[in-house]
Symmetry: C2
Subunit: 337 residues, 2 copies
């Protein structure tokens, strides 16, 4: 297999606004033979996330920028097919930056061997992994969320948002979910237990927050930014905390977007806004996984997958994230488990 054919999506150009298939080039290459310390992995699941869009920019972010021509960066789950490192062996299931490709060759130490779980492999992306860690530690650690407080979650029908809503409920919070469209809002209130929902397609978010949070907001799990964040800032309670998880409203802007005009409210209400990145919490993954699995098995934590079949579908799956067409976690099934 050391001369196996690989196929991959390479970054061909950088989007100025929405990412599209035109930004990627499909190429077939020959995989190199393994060096000592390396493993070859067959990709099974590819996670499609808003942050993928950040990686396409011509700038370093919390990770170094991707050069044009490189295989598109992506978090994947795969099976080790060949190993030249003692820490992994053929058949092991691993997670890491496998990229948008069928096969990858990486140093074994760049990958994490996944522990067995009483759930399908895809739960590592839908419930656990970077999604679950982000929602769990964003609320418990960054925002110091407490029972009885009012939590607002934006992009609440998204992968991270829908977990944040349910974690908030499991922590004993009153949860207000912001999402677009009647179907998503129904899912959030009827199945995920949100106490109130704001459909931003039919109601002004600032008005919706004034309606649903008459006593103000204690915690905001912020995925959107822009006007949504501004509306949140205008409704803060004294000592409020904003866990700044994402700013999806701004990722596709070709020019800098104005920030929140209501920033003075952070001052008046002695509020705290804190950015965080899941990479800082990887060493605490077992703590989150234990809670999330227990809640799920008790029927108190649901997740929904939005699966596209075949590596070819990856660019379209990414576009879907920014049009609001997805409900739950967007995944690409690259090969069979």
């Amino acid at each position: 297999m050391s001369t196996a054919i690989n196929s991959a999506w390479h970054l061909a150009s950088r989007p100025t606004d929405l990412p599209s298939a035109a930004n990627f080039a499909w190429r077939e290459t020959t995989l190199p033979a393994l060096a000592d310390g390396q493993v070859r992995v067959r990709t099974i699941w590819l996670s499609i996330d808003p942050t993928n869009r950040i990686w396409m920019n011509d700038a370093d972010s919390y990770l170094p920028k991707l050069e044009l021509g490189e295989v598109m960066r992506g978090i994947g789950i795969g099976r080790v097919e060949e190993s030249r490192d003692a820490s992994l062996q053929a058949g092991d299931i691993v997670q890491g930056m496998l990229g948008w490709q069928h096969y990858s060759v990486s140093p074994a130490k760049a990958l994490s061997k996944l522990p067995p779980i009483p759930l399908p492999l895809s739960a590592h992306f839908g419930l656990l992994g970077h999604i679950g860690l982000t929602a769990y530690f964003g609320l418990t650690d960054v925002a110091q969320a407490r029972a009885g407080e009012t939590l607002v979650v934006s992009a609440a029908a998204g992968a991270v948002g829908s977990l944040a809503v349910q974690i908030g409920k499991n922590l004993g919070m009153r949860v207000v979910a912001i999402a677009g469209g009647a179907e998503k809002c129904r899912w959030l209130s009827d199945e995920l237990g949100a106490d109130a929902v704001i459909d931003y397609k039919v109601e002004d978010v600032a008005a919706g927050l004034a309606r649903t949070c008459p006593d103000g907001i204690d915690v905001d799990f912020e995925n959107v930014g822009g006007r949504t964040l501004d509306a949140v800032l205008g409704n803060l309670k004294l000592g409020a905390r904003i866990a700044l998880c994402g700013l999806i409203s701004q990722y596709n802007a070709s020019a800098p977007e104005p920030g929140p005009a209501n920033l003075a409210q952070l001052l008046m209400q002695r509020g705290r806004m804190q950015g965080f990145i899941v990479l800082d919490y990887l060493d605490r993954a077992p703590e989150a996984a234990e809670k999330l699995i227990a809640w799920h098995l008790a029927g108190r934590m649901h997740y929904r997958l939005d699966v596209s079949d075949g590596l070819e579908s990856a660019p379209a799956a990414l576009s879907k994230l920014f049009s609001g067409a997805n409900t739950g976690k967007v995944l690409v099934r690259v090969s069979a488990e």
Copy 2:
């Protein structure tokens, strides 16, 4: 004295941008006789602060809004002339919301008796009091400033900013000061010990921060907001903290000002921005005063007063704050000590 004549500046109209003398009306009234629990105080010093502008708005802030026709709110130091409360007696020196007036009648419990200090009475406003507390706890508590870190202070030649610069130096930080004009910048570097200065009148602040903070900013003591805050956000180091003390660039805006476009950097750098108000630290005042007095007596903490004589000058003194004409703490001497 129970029928003494009082004179005062009353709030006559609300400014739409810069405050001016036209917003105030000078009135003479007769002071009421004291009720049980009340004291009459003669104002000696009146503190003029950027936050006075916030109090003139038609909106509650961290304090209830002031109604039109009321005596302008202001923090003052005065001498008790008559007391009908056991906790204070004639001759005591007190601080509190005395207002822009020669005499005030207040409940004794709304005032703080000032402890004796080895400095002139005006040091309670120039070095200690709300100014010193703001600078001291903004750095040590809100921003968790540490020796060896790089600190940026905006409006650094102002009352709070100039103390923040020196507290940073006394804590062992590298301090970059932003101010407008050669004289202020010279004072900051030659007398207050700033390691680098940015004169925003001759250098773009973002370029100045890139020049003076090549490794990024650990702590920002933010007094200005707007474009200054945006420039800071663009130069954050990983794990940076922004102590949001004031947003003087925005207080006079009649329409909402756009917030910082660089907010995404707070996310990328896992930064924390936290608003605070000195009122939350009043019970820890002795802790700050002890440090500030000791540093001052050791020659490591200077303060500069910008004194206007006579209550009549209060509106002009307030305007001065927003034109950048002051260096150091703006005070009005209402009567002799």
